[in-house]
């Protein structure tokens, strides 16, 4: 009886997890296709973000950019 109860609970948990999964169909991707969904939509923002990121990380060059990591490039 205990095994059955445990199994039923495990099954219920599995179905709860599965219910959270869905496939966005090709015709339902209007929002995803919007320009605002692109992380690289603004070149100026990208450049500033990269500068700050590399300055914070002291890791300039990690994405193919030359520099010393001083944040002054």
């Amino acid at each position: 009886m205990k095994t059955r109860l445990r199994f039923a609970l495990a099954l219920a948990a599995l179905f709860t997890l599965l219910a959270g999964c869905t496939t966005v169909q090709p015709w339902e991707r209007a929002t995803l296709a919007d320009a605002t969904m692109r992380p690289d939509r603004d070149p100026l923002h990208n450049a500033m973000f990269e500068h700050i990121y590399f300055s914070c990380e002291a890791a300039t060059g990690g994405r193919g950019v030359g520099g010393s990591g001083c944040g002054c490039n």
Binding site: T3, F7, L11, W27, R29, D34
Partner: protein
């Protein structure tokens, strides 16, 4: 065999069946009737014609890129009994109307705003076009728009279908 051991294979089989039953309209199957899905716009007379039904949307760049080529195809084959119907799946009317107003396609367009028809057809990608013979049977499915290769394949297939005796 204990209860879980009996149940697990049945569960796996059930999930596999559920995943495989995608329900897409495929080549060799009749295309669903265009009426009864609440399509906005005037449907052309398709009975006895070779028909290309193209599902597109204004938010889909390759869909819009296909329009000039489809205009050429329509102009070339329409006198021989070919009908091209573009079905937009835009849920909002404004971008659809703006695009139609700007582009003024030479072929009929309708809008499946409630996405009822496309939910029945279940296209594999955007855009997807279905080429139907004179009996309304799907003879080929073109998933995506790949420029010249798609246009060439369509021209060959349309030519072949138009030459078939009804």
């Amino acid at each position: 065999m204990s209860f879980p051991n009996k149940f697990i294979p049945a569960l796996v089989l059930g999930l596999a069946l559920a995943c495989s039953a995608s329900g897409q309209v495929k080549s060799g199957q009749p295309f669903p009737a265009l009426t009864g899905h609440g399509l906005e716009g005037t449907l052309p007379d398709t009975a006895g014609h070779v028909v290309l039904i193209d599902f597109w949307a204004t938010w889909c760049a390759p869909c819009k890129a296909s329009f000039p080529a489809y205009t050429e195809i329509q102009r070339e084959f329409a006198p021989r009994g070919f009908v091209l119907l573009a079905v937009s799946v835009d849920q909002t009317a404004a971008p659809y109307e703006q695009f139609i107003e700007r582009f003024k396609p030479a072929f009929p367009t309708v809008r499946d705003g409630k996405q009822k028809l496309i939910s029945e057809v279940r296209v594999p990608a955007m855009p997807t076009s279905y080429l139907l013979d004179r009996h309304g049977i799907v003879r080929s499915v073109h998933s995506g728009y790949h420029g010249e290769s798609t246009v060439k394949a369509l021209r060959d297939e349309i030519n072949r279908l138009l030459e078939e005796k009804s």
